[in-house]
């Protein structure tokens, strides 16, 4: 296992190196900006991925959490507060909203969890849209600056690469920890975990808080990227796209969110330059993935490789099989 882990870490380091060297390969500001958008979306998608894969909780509200954090920064910037206050307020607002989500949803699962997060997402959207004295309504808040050190697009991009590495590593560690194992236990059978003495809602709340905190960070990064926040950042559509990203990349895979985010963002922003019916393209990619690569692109590619190797190796059982959104409980 040690050798495998080394290879994995090597691959990860290689990816980070590739990502970090991207601005130096003669890319234009526009291309760096697209890559930044992909990274931010990937961070946000990885929080949804963590919650859905390990906790079995598919959230339709993470776009709204990120949006709420963005509004925190935006409001502070509008009031002329310092950068430190803006950051603090963004995180406080994001975490506050996450807490509300978490407390209201920790006793639910499956479709009920989905509906609770959906409803709360709509509440955040409604507030952003209608509470114009704070959010300026549909017009949104413009002119939100990022810290001076990150003013250069490439500096900000490298910072994002760092953020992506740190958050992905953090989620990976949490997922492999006893806490993560407990979460998967709850996902597979809540009643069994309860009878084993675990206080299930606390674990669910904990998972939601971890996921929501990183989502708030993503929201802050997004507003630093666009200098702008409007109700559309909290729209249901954004949250749905996050789920699409996760499923495209592969639920429960470490790099799935990055791949999924890259596909969605590139279709939205680059393919749409030349193809007028780009939403159809996105839909087709999604349908084909669901039909022919149910474990997502990363997950399915890994499966294919594994099957090929099975010839030389007596099929070693997998410890962290990517699970579907609706997990089947199999008691051996």
């Amino acid at each position: 296992m040690t050798r495998d882990r080394k290879v994995g870490l090597g691959a990860m380091a290689l990816l980070l190196l590739a990502l970090a060297s991207y601005p130096y390969l003669g890319t234009s500001g526009y291309q760096v900006s697209i890559a930044s958008t992909v990274l931010i979306a990937a961070i946000l998608a990885s929080t949804v991925n963590f919650l859905a894969a390990d906790g079995g909780m598919a959230s339709l509200g993470h776009g709204a959490i990120a949006g709420a954090a963005a509004y925190g920064a935006g409001w502070a910037s509008l009031q002329g507060h310092s950068m430190a206050t803006q950051i603090a307020l963004a995180m406080v607002v994001g975490i506050l909203v996450t807490t509300v989500y978490g407390v209201l949803s920790m006793r639910t699962n499956g479709i009920y969890f989905l509906m609770v997060t959906l409803a709360l997402g709509m509440v955040v959207f409604g507030l952003a849209y209608r509470l114009s004295s704070v959010t300026r309504g549909e017009n949104g808040i413009t002119g939100i600056e990022r810290p001076e050190v990150l003013a250069e697009p490439w500096a900000f991009y490298l910072f994002l690469v760092g953020c992506f590495a740190v958050t992905t590593a953090a989620l990976w560690v949490v997922s492999r920890s006893p806490f993560g194992a407990t979460l998967r236990g709850i996902r597979d059978s809540e009643s069994r975990m309860r009878s084993l003495g675990y206080y299930v809602p606390a674990y669910k709340l904990g998972a939601f808080m971890i996921s929501g905190t990183i989502a708030s960070l993503a929201g802050l990064l997004a507003v630093w990227h666009t200098h702008f926040v409007s109700p559309s950042a909290t729209e249901l559509g954004r949250s749905v796209l996050l789920i699409v990203m996760v499923l495209l990349g592969g639920l429960g895979t470490t790099l799935g969110p990055l791949v999924g985010a890259a596909i969605v963002i590139l279709v939205e922003n680059v393919v749409s330059n030349s193809v007028e019916r780009w939403p159809t393209v996105l839909g087709l990619i999604f349908i084909l993935t669901i039909l022919f690569a149910r474990a997502g692109l990363v997950g399915s590619a890994a499966k294919v490789l594994r099957r090929r190797r099975r010839g030389t190796d007596a099929g070693e059982p997998d410890t962290a099989e990517p699970a579907g959104l609706t997990t089947t409980t199999t008691i051996p």
Binding site: D4, T27, Y30, S133, G140, S230, S232, N269, V298, L305
Partner: protein, 438 residues
């Protein structure tokens, strides 16, 4: 021992996939390697200013509009209006070729921003036109002004675009601010002898601004708005709102929508309750546009509305525009969105004809300094904040040669965006909302 675990294989594959995908971005946007040559040509010709009689070069225009998504119809119309002008008049003015790249933003401000970046940094356009929605427009205007590229707005109505967020690179070319276009409606209603009014507007920025414009026009002239109702976007059944209007019992009802289905939906409820003959009604631009007229037919004959565009105005430029549009689009009559795109194109053309190739803030200054006598919107000049000062029409639906048209019955000339206040005074107040209507 030779085997790797599943997840490391996934990682390495991820590397390949991510690299391939990131490689896609440069590859597909590297094609604009040809444009720099043209742009170089264009900048050479900036020196051609001294000889405005015959400038040469290319004005590259990036046009952002929601061609897909919920606002696809309005977005496409905005593009059609722009293209129509160049189709009729040719895209070469005074030796300058106008080249347009259209980009779709699906009404999402994040995509609008990426598209604006792409147009400016990758395609190196000289001017960005659009987008359509208030939030997308404000986001793009902020970006373009930060990089010194002019931004023209054919349709966006957000007050702030030419007020609190005004700058030297942003012009509202083809539309009016939300409150500006409806203020004369209030003045007119008061002049008609109505003493009380009730309003119904969509519950978001555009609705707040429209209602605030009407209310201030009405109350500054002695009227009183007794009740204001707000409906959420997406309302399709207006019967409860119509009964509220009815029970408010005011002399006149003012109703605004942002275009699309709510206009006809409201009219069906209003007519269904038989209020047409008993309750005087004034609609805004977009609730009584051609889409509503086509949907409702002769039932809406005689309904009044207020807008800066009147397709039934008796002027040769309007007739020419209507005919040209009808010829290309199945005999349809152009809406405010088409007019906005067309007007923007005509302003660019006139400025190019008079000044040769101008770019940057000079283009904005040139537009702002020009008087557009024969605009299809009526005589237009610009204020210091690059917002049009132009006529607003009180229109009545009439049948002209078998077609239903909004014919102006009264014209308010040279309406500015300040609603009878000083600019400083107006901008010191909070943005309009349900709570603050001025």
């Amino acid at each position: 021992m030779l085997t790797l675990p599943r997840w490391s294989a996934a990682l390495s594959l991820g590397v390949v996939a991510a690299l391939a995908l990131t490689a896609c971005a440069p590859a597909s946007s590297e094609d604009p390697t040809e444009p720099p040559a043209e742009t170089a040509g264009a900048s050479d010709d900036e020196t051609g200013d001294e000889a405005p009689a015959q400038a040469e070069g290319t004005l590259k225009v990036g046009y952002i509009s929601p061609i897909t998504g919920n606002f696809a119809v309005a977005g496409q119309e905005m593009v059609d209006g722009w293209n129509l002008y160049w189709e009729i008049n040719g895209n070469e003015v005074n030796g300058v070729t106008v080249e347009t790249i259209v980009e779709d933003d699906a009404g999402n401000p994040e995509i609008s921003l990426t598209k604006a970046r792409k147009l400016v940094e990758s395609d190196q356009v000289d001017v960005v036109v659009g987008p359509l929605l208030a939030n997308t427009a404000l986001a793009v205007a902020e970006y373009t002004s930060s990089v010194g590229v002019p931004n023209l707005h054919p349709v966006a109505a957000a007050d702030d675009l030419t007020q609190r967020a005004a700058n030297d690179f942003t012009v509202r070319s083809g539309s009016m601010s939300g409150s500006q276009a409806n203020y004369p409606g209030g003045v007119w209603a008061a002049d008609q002898g109505h003493e009380t009014a009730v309003t119904l507007c969509p519950d978001y920025a555009f609705g707040w601004e429209s209602c605030a414009g009407f209310k201030q026009g009405f109350e500054q002239n002695g009227g009183e708005v007794t009740a204001q109702f707000w409906y959420p976007n997406g309302t399709s059944d207006f019967s409860t709102y119509v009964s509220q209007l009815q029970s408010a019992g005011a002399d006149i009802a003012y109703v605004a929508t942002a275009g699309g289905a709510p206009g006809p939906d409201f009219m069906r409820s209003f007519l269904g309750l038989g209020l047409k003959d008993t309750q005087p009604l004034l609609m805004n631009c977009c609730s009584m546009d051609q889409a509503t007229l086509r949907a409702m037919g002769t039932e809406v004959l005689g309904i009044h509305s207020v807008s800066n565009w009147a397709e039934g105005r008796d002027a040769p430029e309007v007739a020419e525009f209507n005919a040209a549009y009808a010829e290309r689009y199945d005999g349809k009559i152009p809406s405010l969105n088409v007019a906005g795109g067309y007007v923007t194109a005509s302003q660019v053309a006139q400025v190019l004809a008079e000044n040769g190739l101008v770019t940057g803030d000079e283009l904005v200054a040139a537009i702002s300094a020009t008087t557009f006598e024969d605009s299809i919107l009526g005589k237009t000049v610009f204020d210091e904040y690059n917002n049009p000062v132009s006529p607003v029409y009180i229109r009545e639906v009439q049948e002209v040669d078998g077609q239903l048209l909004n014919v102006p019955i009264e014209t308010f000339d040279a309406v500015d965006q300040w609603l009878g206040m000083d600019p400083e005074e107006a901008m010191a107040r909070p943005n309009y909302s349900q709570q603050f209507q001025g």
